[in-house]
Amino acid sequence: MWDYTEKVKDHFLNPRNVGEIENPDGAGEVGSLACGDALRLSFKLDEQKRIKEAKFKTFGCASAIASSSALTEMIKGMSLEEAEKVTNQDIANFLGGLPEEKMHCSVMGREALESAIANYRGQKVVKEDFEIVCKCFGVTDREIIKAIQENDLKTVEQVTYYTKAGGGCAQCHPKIEAIIEKVRKEMEKEGLTPKPEKRKLTNIQKIKLIEETLGREIVPALKADGGDIDLIDVDGSKVYVALRGKCSFCPSSEFTLKQYVESKLKEFVSDDIVVEEVKP
């Protein structure tokens, strides 16, 4: 069974913005029945040219549906210039992460968005302009290069996870390997690697991200055991919390704090975080 986050499950079980907008300002479609997943995205703009409404229809697995739903939520309210900057990693992050084998679902979201924006601008994303590297899934060199650059990919397996290229007959593996080598060389030359793992956060961003992470990753698990946690203060890299309910007198609370709360915050917020408990 796949290890999906609660947020992926939520967006799969309760997808937001399902449908097709009539007379949309922009619409795009990627994937096909043969590929096993497809996404049709449409949006409408308001007077300020911001995305007022976004809707999707998706054929695919749970993470494809969740990625589509997440994408429509994320881009609402964005200007097209902002929306253009949404990466597949942003979609995956919004969902609290995706299994690596399923990253192509987030890439499909980004590609549909790109295609819908191009459609609005009267441009066309023409696949024929590029070389089709993977014949099984119709993946072009452009798509592969973009996935390598944006996600710092290093192996053929990773390229398959992110773009599907090479996931069928495997004949294109040498070609993909050559592309990886070329692109990584260019990236090194331009000093693009290694990419900083996490952005530098302002204090407000950091507190917000800590709150989100606690709410999404930690509180549900603690509540299941009759406990809870409150954020008391944040001072630089130090995060002060108070354990509530059963957790407050649980003998393994120290373990919970260090192994669980701290490691989750390190994962999702910043590597240097230290969690301290405030005793009542």
């Binding site: 399902v18 029945l33 096993g36 997943d37 054929f59 599907k164």
Partner: protein, 393 residues
């Protein structure tokens, strides 16, 4: 939440009688069957009893039963053990729809310089026996064709195949993992030389299997070690599991009729109801020659993993041949070999029943499956397109 388990081709519940039979052999009677003392001797007696139970179930002689660790080991041992006995013959025949335990051995052999032939199947999953006849050559060392397909339940005409193979003097192996316990097997009247069985598909635990080996079959051991299993499979016997498998074989023989009457009618009921309630559904595999417990259906324009997870949310455990469930990107090799169209291959679901299933459980599935398919079709861009082509959009 209730659990409706209809994934018995993946694994089965260990029968309570089997658990009971096994338990004393973990702690109380822990002797080594090979020991000279009474403490090992009493265990050896029970292992022999299990061998008789397995032989009785298969219509074989006890000396023709070799215990292994699983179905995959039985398949590997049968293939490598035979090829090793005919080193001058460098051709291997199998089908395109085998379990990975045979299919991936075939690719391995190919990489090692063997010539391999993988027989094709038609849209219903049936073999063309003329293709088999034409493939057999003087250099053919072994033919290995599965008895019943794990994904679709399609039964191959094993005795007809066996006659063709044996008439050319070639050893014949069949992977009987899915067939055992579901259809009658009688090795005395069979053309099969080697037959693989897995314990956990017939209510014994995971980690034990059988390789039936007809008397006189040339074989070099795959697992090289001690004198156990008459030198055909080294390694100290997995005593409790072997005893459990023996018991499971005894029970399977007893339940065979129930499997082919009551379980079959539950499967047929499920199939009819699904077709009644869900449009654009198709069965995968030859309905005229199929295991009594298996139903593989495809729902057009939706994807299998999504169906499985929504079913799972309601406690219904099934499986799928879709790409996304396996972690690979293409639908199962079985459905591809059959040429199931992509509109349907990604949306395939397999229900596989056991004697523990009830009619009430089938009704539970029939009640909950149609809204799940509808819900996913409402999300799917292709469903609306399809309705438009039908003038319903």
């Amino acid at each position: 939440m209730r659990t409706v388990y209809v994934d018995n081709n993946a694994t089965t519940r260990v029968a309570p009688e089997v658990v009971e039979a096994m338990l004393p052999y973990f702690s109380e009677f822990y002797g080594n069957p090979s020991s000279m003392h009474f403490f090992g001797g009493q265990v050896q007696k029970k292992v022999n009893e299990a061998r008789e139970q397995a032989a009785d179930f298969l219509g074989a002689e006890p000396s023709e039963i070799v215990f292994t660790s699983c179905g995959t080991e039985s398949d590997n041992a049968a293939i490598f053990g035979t090829l090793d006995s005919y080193p001058e013959k460098r051709h291997f025949i199998t089908s395109r729809v085998e379990h990975p335990a045979v299919m991936n051995v075939s690719s391995y052999l190919n990489r090692k310089g063997y010539r391999t032939t993988e027989l094709s199947v038609d849209r219903e999953g049936r073999l063309d026996l003329d293709e088999l006849k034409e493939s057999i050559a003087d250099e053919t060392a072994l033919v290995s064709i599965m008895y019943a397909n794990n994904e679709t339940g399609v039964l191959f005409p094993i005795e007809e195949i066996g006659q063709i193979v044996k008439s050319r003097g070639i050893p014949f192996h069949t992977d009987g993992v899915q067939a055992a316990g579901k259809i009658p097997l009688n090795m005395k009247k069979s053309t099969v030389d080697l037959l693989s069985i897995s314990g956990h598909k017939l209510h014994a635990p995971k980690g034990v299997g059988v390789l039936y080996m007809r008397k006189g079959t040339k074989f070099s051991p795959f697992m090289i070690g001690g004198h156990q299993e008459k030198g055909r499979r080294g390694g100290t016997e997995n005593v409790p599991y072997i005893i459990g498998l023996g018991k499971a074989c005894e029970l399977a023989k007893k339940h065979l009729e129930d499997e082919n009457t009551r379980v079959k009618s539950l499967r047929d009921y499920l199939e009819v109801k699904i077709f009644e309630k869900i449009p654009n559904t198709l069965v995968n595999g030859d309905r005229k020659s199929r295991l009594p417990n298996t139903l593989s259906v495809s729902f057009e324009y939706v994807e299998g993993e999504s169906i499985l997870l929504l079913l799972s949310d309601l406690g219904i455990c099934a499986s799928s041949g879709s790409a996304c469930t396996s972690g690979s990107l293409e639908p199962s090799h079985v459905l591809r070999a059959m040429g199931v169209p992509f509109t349907a291959a990604h949306g395939s679901i397999r229900f596989s029943l056991s004697i523990y299933n009830t009619k009430e459980e089938m009704d539970y599935i029939v009640e909950h499956l149609p809204p799940i398919i509808q819900r996913l079709r409402d999300i799917s861009p292709f469903w609306k397109d399809y309705l438009k082509t039908q003038g319903k959009g």
